[in-house]
């Protein structure tokens, strides 16, 4: 590998000059610059990441802004785990990542968390914004760079990237799976497809629902849909919402689509009820630790997920790559939409063990 010194020798100048040229910090002649840049190209020079990282050790710090860890049935706990993992891995060369959490049902809370994070001295922010348009102005005024996970806010100058999923498309995918699950027309099942809408659903969840309905109305027009607003604050509230609903209904739904991880609350309601709800196809979102049981016993047929742990991990790593190592990062990563069912469940949960890396000395 060519080093700065190799380039310098080849160009007949010192490493200081080469460095100044590559970083464009003045004090060099156009002629030398041209020669150096040509040599950098020819000799295929790539900065040594370790040398760069070493020099910049311990000077940067990042902060994350996400909803409260208890909200969304544990979804944000996974995000938090990803942040933790990245933080540990970067421990040698960054301050620990500080997380600012907020109440996802309050725009004000979100904005003040962002303000707090921005004022914390961090060099970069990872934000999961549940952000109505009015909030944008505050972001526009911020002077530190940030990236978004989960939900995007495009068109901001300091925005580095977005890592998230295509919500509408994920709804479409759910629709496809639901079509398959309801293909069995031997039994007489005529109920509607039930869509469980968390209260205060964000545009995200709305897109999922839209994609779902869009696919099915095009591909299985005979289906009817019914929306049910549910309380997702606690498991008990959620069960209450369902109890009310099912006690009024004579017809069982033909299938149920839960827009987020509240699908596990649904499962914990239906599963103990036994025979009555057996065979209702259920599709929902997110793999929550400790809730795998309901996938294993097929109460839940399909879970879709964007691997939030991984997503958050990569968000922090992106900040590091961009701000510390000065890599340019391809913007707007669309994360894979994973389909999880009983048979591949364990390949998504067991894999986490791989990260139990420890340093050894020799």
């Amino acid at each position: 590998m060519a080093t700065l010194k190799d380039i310098a020798d080849a160009a007949g100048v010192s490493i200081g000059t080469v460095d100044r040229i590559l970083h464009n910090r003045g004090r060099f002649s156009a002629a030398t610059a041209e020669k150096v840049r040509r040599l950098v190209d020819e000799m295929d020079y790539t900065p040594n990441i370790h040398a760069r990282g070493l020099k910049k050790t311990g000077r940067r710090s990042f902060a994350a802004v996400i909803p409260d860890i208890e909200q969304d049935a544990g979804y944000w706990r996974l995000v938090s785990a990803g942040i933790e993992r990245a933080s540990r891995e970067l421990a040698s060369f960054c301050e620990p990542v500080v997380t600012f959490s907020y109440d996802q049902f309050s725009t004000e809370s979100c904005l003040s968390a962002i303000a707090a994070a921005a004022g914390s001295g961090a060099d970069g922010l990872m934000i999961a914004p549940v952000m109505p348009p009015e909030g944008i102005e505050q972001l526009r005024k911020m002077d530190i760079p940030f990236m978004f996970i989960d939900t995007d806010v495009p068109g901001l100058e300091k925005r580095l990237a977005f890592i998230g999923q295509d919500s509408f498309q994920s709804g479409i995918l759910s629709g496809r799976l639901m079509k398959m699950l309801t293909a069995d027309s031997t039994e007489e099942k005529s109920g509607p497809i039930l869509i469980l809408e968390p209260e205060a659903a964000n545009s995200h969840l709305q897109s999922r629902a839209d994609g779902f309905v869009h696919f099915l109305s095009n591909n299985k027009p005979e289906l009817e849909f019914e929306y049910l607003q549910v309380q997702t604050d606690t498991e008990k509230d959620f069960h209450q919402s369902l109890e009310t609903f099912f006690s009024r209904k004579k017809r069982l739904p033909r299938g149920i689509f839960a827009l987020n991880s509240s699908v596990y609350f649904l499962a914990s309601y239906l599963d103990p009820a036994g025979q009555r709800f057996r065979d209702i196809p259920i599709i929902g979102y997110d793999l929550i630790e400790g809730r795998e049981y309901y996938i294993e016993n097929e109460t839940i047929n399909f879970i879709l997920t964007q691997q939030p742990e991984e997503q958050a991990y990569r968000g922090i790593m992106l900040l590091y790559d961009t701000l510390v190592l000065n890599r340019t990062v391809g913007r707007d990563i669309t994360v894979p939409l994973n389909i999880i069912t009983k048979e591949n469940l364990h390949t998504f949960t067991a894999g986490n063990k791989e990260n139990n890396q420890e340093f050894v000395y020799e």
Copy 2:
């Protein structure tokens, strides 16, 4: 973050001593050792990965042993791409990874490729072994560490890890999907499930078939199975095999399961034929660049994949982590079994853009 110097100061010794103790390379007293180790624990010392990497720059080299890049309809090309990506990323601190390829239908060829790789001066090997039991002895005698991808050979002293999928389980998953795809019993479809077996199928592919049949005979006992041996050397040979088969048959198969990426050859045979083969559910393996068309137009209903590019990338990185950075790595990573269908296809292919990272200078 605590550094070696912090530990040394706290212990009242020099960094040289601390280093010798942590690396266990003699010349220290038991008392000092105990004190230092206690302090390392207390002060939560973690070696700075960049400093370590910098010091060890450019000394290690790795080699990969995989089947010929043209075999398996492009599968190994993906593996190769993953190796390349890792190699690029490690360029600052390792020699470029050298790949030794072999003919997957010849054990001898495989063993001699391994021998060549082992003799190439590499410090570690990543091997994709298509390896009958007799070959194992040669591996046992090797004196450099190695890891396996794709297929495992357990019980060897120098074996560092295995990264691959659970083949049987992936067959089970295929079975589940096939059950769903054949749930629609309105039309009279009574043909058997056709399983396409590549000639010289390894134990890997056999397990997939076994899992598939296992699931379906338990969960849909009325299904019949029919195995068809196919030539997978070239697309033309493959089409020939199919032509012979279909010209003899009056009944169309109820579904087709291809054990590997030859599913695309199947698709290129069936798709132009138009109406006749429409609506036969097809499940196969691996996402091959340039062949996505057949998933998009739903000739192929489901593709399963273990993301071979990612798998190979992580294999090389594992060698680096283990042998250069002295991290211990959790053994035997089971990679996620991804289910790909028209609706999430693009999230698996577009994601590669994210890796177009380039260095910038300031």
